[in-house]
């Protein structure tokens, strides 16, 4: 009926319903306040309009009123703060077992790499009712990954990874926008997110005919670049063993401890001397300019795949042969 006059955006993610309720709460409060102020002004303006023979009554002020109309709005605003903070906290805490997709933004397109291998441009296919985490970086300027139907948005920065997660709840095709101004064709940096039923998604995944998982491509690259001459599989080489490193604390030579997340692995490839692991010398050459963003994602996916899978779960990403951890590691 309102085909040409949309009033409310489609809600198609687990965040969307929460966000909509919060928005409705804020709207109700705002409308009540606005109507109240407008009404009071209108009533005062009419009732106390200038007439002959009636003078204004001088009133100094009222401490009680001042305290009242400071505290009461503050109380309501603290509800808003709390509601918004909880949702934000959820949005910033991706569930542990999310499916991961790498996103590389550039002027003016989105490149996506699925863990299973398929790559897409300006298109993202995801299964319904599954947590999906995007690990994003930019090749040039700042972009912003925005899917209105999911109520999610995250700036995509050059030189580091930012993440965003959602659980799509409704199959369909939704707008993907770049929300951060990025140059001439900023408004052309758009695409679609397609949410599919689980079995359709599996069919799509098969037909997308992967040449191999992201981790497998990463392993090939790891060998091509000769990384494996120093980073050996099991025994100490000139570089640290990478098995089981991802997501765990690393002791640095200067006494600090850092968590080996995506940003740390990235930095260690591009600027190896920045944070050297305790007991090693800074002899690794920089790969800045020699591996591109997509290859970095492949290498990171490979290093992640070296981790022993959580107990009781099958290996889904297909850890490359020879690096499969012993089944009874823990």
């Amino acid at each position: 009926m309102f085909d040409n006059l949309p009033l409310w955006p489609t809600a198609a993610s687990s965040h969307a319903r929460y966000e909509d309720w919060l928005f409705i709460f804020l709207t109700v409060v705002s409308v009540v306040m606005t109507v109240l102020i407008f009404a009071v002004i209108a009533v005062f303006a009419m009732k106390y309009r200038r007439r002959h023979g009636r003078e204004a009554t001088q009133i100094e002020g009222s401490l009680l009123l001042e305290i009242g109309w400071s505290i009461a709005p503050l109380g309501i605003m603290m509800l808003m703060f709390a509601g918004g903070a909880v949702l934000y906290f959820i949005m910033r805490s991706p569930p542990r077992d999310s499916a991961q997709v790498y996103v590389v933004a550039k002027q003016w397109m989105w490149k996506l790499q699925h863990m299973e291998g398929p790559r897409e441009i300006n298109q993202l296919h995801v299964p319904v009712d599954r947590d999906v985490e995007l690990i994003m970086t930019s090749q040039d300027v700042i972009h912003s990954f925005y899917v209105p139907a999911f109520r999610v948005k995250q700036d995509v920065l050059p030189g580091r990874y930012t993440t965003l997660w959602f659980r799509a709840t409704k199959p369909g095709t939704y707008h993907l926008f770049c929300a951060q101004f990025c140059g001439t064709m900023h408004s052309g940096m758009i695409g679609e997110v397609t949410v599919m039923e689980s079995k359709d998604y599996q069919a799509w995944m098969t037909s997308a005919a992967p040449s191999g998982s992201l981790a497998q491509t990463g392993m090939t690259l790891f060998q091509q670049l000769g990384c494996n001459t120093c980073h050996l599989n099991d025994v100490q080489g000139r570089g640290p063993v990478l098995k089981g490193v991802y997501g765990n604390p690393v002791q640095l030579g200067d006494g600090r401890t850092v968590t080996a997340d995506e940003n740390y692995i990235r930095e260690s490839i591009l600027v190896p001397a920045a944070k050297v692991v305790s007991g090693f010398r800074p002899i690794m050459p920089s790969w800045q300019g020699q591996v591109n963003e997509e290859q970095l994602n492949e290498l990171i996916a490979y290093i992640k795949s070296l981790n022993p899978p959580p107990t009781g779960e099958a290996v889904t990403a297909g850890a490359p042969g020879g690096t499969t951890p012993p089944p009874s590691a823990k």
Binding site: V29, F44, A56, S70, Y88, D140, I142, D155
Partner: protein
């Protein structure tokens, strides 16, 4: 003893001297205010022209009127001109400059020559910006975000950055002048608790100008150096951080919002008591809320960056602080409304603008709460919701205040009355045009239309058509005062010294005032806003 001929030729600041030199070398704060008035009006219309281009392009979903690059330049230059060359100097440099010395019973500002210098700096920056515009313009968005501005844009970023760097000094000097003047030049008996709220609010504004503007200056210099010398401060490939720019930029540019709105609040605190014939409700709270806004305004900047990649916990802190800054603004709105209670309210033009201001600023302020709410901001950030919100504050708030103030003090400035009927009509046209332009943008923003889009999906078109229609009504609303205020200079009724029977010191001297404002230094023995001691104004505004 004086003959009739001599009385009509009474010397005032306008006819004291003639000739272009007497204007360009003047140190009279009132004449400098008029120089500012002319120059910011010019920039208002240039900025308005770009707004027109934007609205015409967005009439249809396809990018058809302008090229993508032209469109990007249009919204960039609309923003930069309106913020840095119109809104920031508007009320302080014109009305503040004209009125503050008179309101405190002084002959001039503390540093009259520095005041003139500040105008020349403004002009130099304006000329440089127009040069930038004429040679091709700039396309970074008014926010200059790196690394786009520092490494990727092929437009005149250096010229634009330098122009805004320079214009900042004019604002610093104005702020400095106001602070010193308010501290040192008050007339005998004019204690801080007797100061008009206009002065309090400008005092708070000046503090932000003094403390904030140097930061944007440094930031823009860094961008310019990065472009010219390739420093790498914001380049992640060389260990720089593009997000650092955003912190520096918003450290000034958020308080800058208060530079724009506080002076408008200053105007409200004069108009509303005068046309309600009442002392302002809760004087101390209105005065202190200005100071509170200036202070808290400095620690909320990262609420522009909730999706920029800042840490979860700093986002929580900045969200909380952003809610706090809403409290003093709410206090003001409630106090102005309460001022009308049991008053004797007239619907003169300035009062219509004031009532419009309260309404629009309320909407602007309340929608600010949506943006302070973390989970909601994630969705509406960088959409038209934000555009609508800040136009409600900066246009619905700041420009309404400016126009209200111009009408209120026009008799004092020009010595003539403006035509009241036309004044009321224009106020209503502005109010309707404004709401039609910007209200639809809240809806299209919530639907998800991102800002700075040259082309957009067709389902957003209805709202954009409404917005463009509203903008053309708004344009008429802005042109009307231009026309009839100019007309009134020649044909308007001669203004009495105090046409509104207002309490301020500026009304206790001639209209237009003599060069040194007062025949003799006044001695203040009364509180501000003693409207019970003033007679009702003659029916200059109430025809019936």
């Amino acid at each position: 003893m004086a003959t009739a001929a001599v009385t009509t030729e009474k010397k005032n600041y306008l006819n004291a001297e003639y000739g272009i030199r007497s204007w360009l070398l003047t140190t009279d704060h009132k004449r400098i205010a008029l120089l500012y008035l002319l120059s910011i009006t010019l920039f208002f219309f240039i900025g308005g022209f770009f707004a027109l281009l934007i609205r015409l392009e967005l009439l249809t979903p396809a990018g058809d009127l302008l090229t993508a690059d032209m469109y990007n330049k249009a919204f960039t230059m609309h923003g930069q001109i309106m913020v840095f060359f119109f809104l920031i100097p508007s009320i302080p440099a014109v009305l503040g400059n004209f009125l503050i010395p008179m309101m405190i019973g002084a002959k001039d500002l503390a540093f009259p020559r520095i005041n003139l210098l500040s105008w020349y700096i403004y002009v130099a920056a304006g000329v440089l910006y127009i040069y930038c515009l004429a040679t091709g313009g700039v396309d970074t968005g008014w926010t200059f975000y790196t690394p786009y501005s520092s490494m990727f844009s092929n437009t005149h970023v250096v010229e634009a950055g330098l122009a805004i760097f320079i214009v900042g000094f004019s604002s610093i000097l104005t702020g400095l002048n106001f602070v010193v003047t308010v501290h040192r030049m008050r007339a005998p008996g004019l204690t801080w608790s007797r100061l008009p709220l206009f002065v309090w609010s400008h005092y708070a504004t000046s503090i932000i100008m003094l403390l904030g503007t140097p930061v944007i200056a440094i930031t823009l210099v860094l961008v310019v150096l990065e472009r010219t010398l390739n420093l790498g401060i914001f380049d992640p490939a060389r260990g720089g951080d593009p997000v650092l720019f955003q912190h520096l930029f918003w450290f000034y540019s958020h308080p800058a919002v208060y530079i724009m709105i506080l002076p408008s609040m200053a105007v409200m605190s004069e108009i509303i008591p005068c046309f309600s014939r009442k002392r302002v409700f809760g004087y101390t709270f209105v005065a202190m809320s200005s100071i509170a806004i200036a202070a808290i305004g400095f620690i909320v900047w990262a609420h522009h960056m909730f999706v920029a990649g800042i840490s979860l916990y700093s986002a929580l802190v900045f969200s909380f602080l952003s809610f706090l800054v809403a409290v003093p603004s709410a206090i003001k709105v409630f106090n102005w409304t309460a001022t009308m209670y049991k008053g004797s309210v007239s619907f003169s033009t300035p009062m219509l603008y004031a009532m419009g201001f309260i309404g629009l600023f309320t909407i602007g302020g309340l929608t600010g709460l949506f943006l302070a709410t973390l989970g909601v901001d994630v969705h509406v950030h960088d959409t038209y919701f934000v555009i609508a919100h800040f136009h409600y504050v900066m246009v619905g708030g700041a420009v309404m205040g400016y126009l209200g103030g111009m009408h209120f003090w026009w008799p004092k400035i020009s010595g003539r009355m403006y035509p009241e009927g036309w004044g009321r009509l224009a106020a209503v046209v502005v109010f309707i045009g404004f709401n039609l332009t910007f209200f639809p943008q809240f809806i299209v923003g919530y639907l998800g239309m991102p800002r700075r889009y040259w082309q957009y999906p067709p389902e957003y078109q209805v709202y954009n058509v409404l917005s463009t229609a509203g903008a053309s009504i708004l344009a008429v609303g802005y042109l009307l005062p231009m026309v009839y205020l100019l007309w009134s200079l020649r044909y308007g009724k001669i203004a009495p010294d105090n046409p509104w029977q207002a309490t301020g010191l500026e009304w206790r001297t001639a209209s237009p005032p003599p060069t040194f404002n007062f025949e003799e230094t006044p001695e203040v023995t009364w509180e501000a806003y003693e409207y019970d001691k003033m007679p009702l104004p003659e029916e200059v505004t109430l025809e019936r």
